[in-house]
């Protein structure tokens, strides 16, 4: 297998898990977030590019939603299916594992990233693997699996087009469903020219075909195929994989060994639950009626079947998920089916871009779960990166209360590390507001000195004022205006064109 040499750009993923090296300091992650956000916001061309790329999503998604007889009730049903499994997770996991092993596969349990890596390395070693092909798998990003495999000398190629492009670029995914949505076709053409020796082209179709041709050999030659999994069906002991390109199907069909790395929260109780969840996942994620391939695997090739892997392994990954489960308030964030809808509608995501988050899971849901997976103190700034508009909550097909969770994270962080300055400020305001005369005097001073705030560039207000205009202070206080108000003119028509004054 040709060795891929990703350009050695540093990964924007700011952290390495505890087993893999140094955890970014609390200050470091936040500082980098603010720095990267500032940089990205300035790149108006790229923001426009991102908006254009997402424009089609809204139209197709809304078109497909309209085909549901009742989308809102369908969301209730999807929520119920996942809520049921998450709230009985121990039972689901045991049932899944028993059924799956009855089908001839092997279940492995991994408490953390290091354990998952060593299990998979063990399987790969036992298989005497020479070449590994991989389909899209966010859990493997979470545990930095490729780095671990490459460190042991194994060549591993990402087969999903977007992930392949990101692998060649030496970058993690920009968006956990659309990994390379930030890359322009010209850049992809150059990348392929450099790594695959293809002719330059501006056509997305030709670029896709270049990757297709390149990958075909690798499917045939690979000994081990690694995939993720979207659902674990407890009733039947099957894993369900959702994809559009067909690369996951080839990855689980041609190599001798199939390994699936799946988070423990992916359980559903019954096969029938998928009759709800698969269409919802597709519609919320990409606006499709159903993703192109939804495939259920119950084990390796069975007796009488003419192809398929000899061995199948499922690695069940905890890596902090049980900690989310232990917080009843945020337990429902484990119901996430990773459709990515909350990213696509998030004004923050669209303005700071995916890399700024510095996390495996970007956007609103990433901001909710990352502090739990990696320590609240270090990642709480992500919860501040929200306008609390609630677009994420409205978009969520399983009804996770995402924006309230961001508020909860903020509250928990303040409880953990109280902000003295803010508390003193609030106390002072309360003291003034409770004394009408003092309040009036304070107001008078404030109205006259508002312009000073802009000039003084006080350190606390600097960031706020840098991108905003302060309103002009009114000449008289509200109380004064109210006292001297004219009698309401009921008959006179209200001016309707005064919006320009804002």
């Amino acid at each position: 297998m040709p060795h891929l040499s990703p350009t050695a750009t540093p990964r924007p993923d700011h952290s390495v898990d505890s087993a893999g090296g140094t955890e970014a300091s609390a200050h470091g992650a936040k500082k980098r977030f603010l720095h990267d956000a500032r940089e990205y916001v300035r790149d108006t061309d790229h923001r426009a590019f991102l908006r254009r790329a997402l424009a089609g999503y809204y139209t197709t998604r809304d078109g497909q939603k309209a085909r549901y007889r009742d989308w809102e009730h369908a969301r209730d049903a999807a929520n119920l299916a996942k809520w049921n499994a998450v709230n009985r997770l121990d039972e689901m996991l045991v049932r899944f594992a028993d059924r799956f092993e009855a089908g001839g596969g092997k279940v492995h349990w991994a408490r953390d990233a290091a354990e998952a890596r060593s299990i998979i390395l063990g399987i790969v070693r036992d298989a005497g693997a020479k070449a590994i092909i991989k389909s899209k798998c966010m859990t493997s990003e979470e545990i930095h699996l490729n780095d671990a495999l490459e460190a042991e000398g194994y060549g591993v190629v990402e087969s999903d087009l977007g992930e392949f492009i990101q692998q060649l670029r030496g970058e993690p995914p920009f968006h956990f469903v659309f990994p390379c949505m930030h890359v322009r076709r010209g850049e992809i053409s150059k990348l392929f020219e450099e790594h695959l020796g293809s002719a330059p082209t501006e056509s997305p179709e030709e670029l896709t075909m270049i990757a297709r041709r390149y990958m075909r050999r690798l499917y045939v030659e690979a000994d081990v195929g690694i995939t993720g999994g979207n659902f674990l069906v407890a009733e039947t002991g099957q894993i369900s994989i959702t994809e559009n390109e067909g690369n996951a199907r080839l990855t689980a069909a041609l190599p001798r060994v199939h390994v699936a790395l799946v988070g423990i929260e992916k359980c559903v109780e019954r096969l029938d639950d998928l009759a709800v969840l698969l269409p919802m996942l597709a519609t919320a994620g990409t606006g499709q009626p159903l993703t192109c391939y939804n495939t259920l695997y119950g084990g390796p090739r069975a007796a009488g079947e003419c192809d398929g892997p000899r061995e199948m392994h499922v690695v069940l990954l905890d890596n902090g998920r049980a900690a989310i489960l232990a917080d009843p308030e945020q337990r429902d964030s484990l119901q996430c089916i990773r459709c990515g809808a909350c990213l696509n509608v998030c004004p923050i995501f669209k303005n700071v871009g995916g890399f700024t988050y510095g996390t495996t899971y970007q956007g609103p849901i990433g901001s909710v779960i990352t502090p739990h997976l990696r320590g609240l103190g270090d990642w709480n700034h992500l919860s501040q990166a929200s306008s609390l508009c609630g677009a994420c909550t409205d978009a969520c097909p399983v009804r996770i209360d995402i924006h309230h969770h961001l508020l909860h994270n903020r509250r928990n962080a303040v409880r953990a590390v109280p902000n003295r300055l803010e508390r003193t400020g609030h106390r002072m305001f309360a003291a003034v507001a409770a004394r009408p005369r003092l309040f009036a005097a304070g107001g008078a001073i404030f109205r006259r000195s508002l312009w000073l705030l802009k000039k003084l560039r006080l350190p606390l207000l600097r960031d706020w004022i840098a991108s905003r205009d302060l309103p002009r202070a009114p000449a008289r206080s509200f109380r004064d205006q109210w006292r001297h108000r004219a009698a309401p003119a009921v008959t006179s028509s209200r001016p309707t064109t005064s919006g320009g004054a804002r």
Partner: protein
């Protein structure tokens, strides 16, 4: 303690604290005067069957055979699949013949199936049977790269299917009844041949028919194929034929 027991112990410990019920906000449980906590669901009993709740809300699957056929055709069209409904197997043969001629197929792959075999008679190119002979020797042979290469070099794969889903325009294939795992995804064209009575309304109906047919022993792979392989990874622009088939041809006979 091994990893399995450790994880299960953590999960049980976590779930010993009751959480909010379904459709309930976390804040509704803990704060602001709401004293009633939703009970965690009783073990082994689901309060409402999610699927029963969802059946009337999901996209329509059609009530009659005619409705289902119309929906299937409409959905397949939307997915850019090619759909033919022909009256007889002879008409299907003619169709495959002209497809092979038009596209200049050199070799097509197939598996033993009551609809696939007659379809192939007179096809103007070479054929490759993927499930030939029986027993171990043939099974082992499929592990060889040469065998995979042979299938990869075919111009089309022809399979039967378990069922067709009107609601989504999907074709359900399985490793047990459709020539294994790779026949329906490795060649650049996938031709599916089926009869109208295989058309079911919804995904849930497809699961029902599976359970009936395989009575508890499900094939090792089941796949809902919904249109030809596609990607939107480059600037979110749709391209067909990413890694799987570029064309999906559905031939309904009868």
């Amino acid at each position: 303690m091994n990893a399995r027991d450790a994880i299960l112990a953590r999960v049980r410990e976590a779930l010993s604290v009751p959480g909010p019920g379904p459709h309930q906000r976390a804040g509704e449980m803990t704060g602001h005067g709401h004293s009633g906590q939703a009970p965690t669901p009783p073990r082994g009993v689901l309060p409402v069957l999610a699927l029963e709740a969802a059946r009337p809300w999901l996209p329509d699957g059609g009530d009659t055979i005619a409705e289902r056929l119309a929906l299937l055709e409409e959905n397949l069209g939307r997915l850019k699949a090619i759909f033919h409904h022909v009256p007889t197997i002879h008409a299907a043969q003619d169709l495959l013949f002209s497809l092979a001629r038009e596209r200049d197929w050199k070799r097509v792959a197939w598996h033993v199936h009551p609809l696939v075999e007659p379809l192939l008679s007179g096809v103007p190119c070479a054929t490759l049977r993927v499930d030939d002979a029986s027993g171990l020797a043939a099974a082992l042979a499929t592990d060889a790269a040469a065998r995979k290469d042979a299938l990869e070099a075919c111009d089309a794969g022809i399979t039967g299917c378990e069922s067709l889903v009107a609601q989504t325009g999907s074709i359900l294939v399985s490793s047990a009844t459709c020539g294994g795992r790779s026949l329906s995804v490795l060649p650049p064209v996938h031709v599916v041949v089926a009869t109208p009575d295989q058309v079911v309304g919804t995904l849930a109906d497809a699961f029902d028919s599976l359970r009936e047919r395989h009575s508890g022993h499900l094939p090792s792979m089941l796949s809902f194929i919904t249109g030809p392989s596609r990607t939107g990874d480059i600037e979110r622009i749709l391209v067909l034929g990413a890694h799987g088939p570029k064309e999906l041809v559905v031939i309904l006979v009868g």
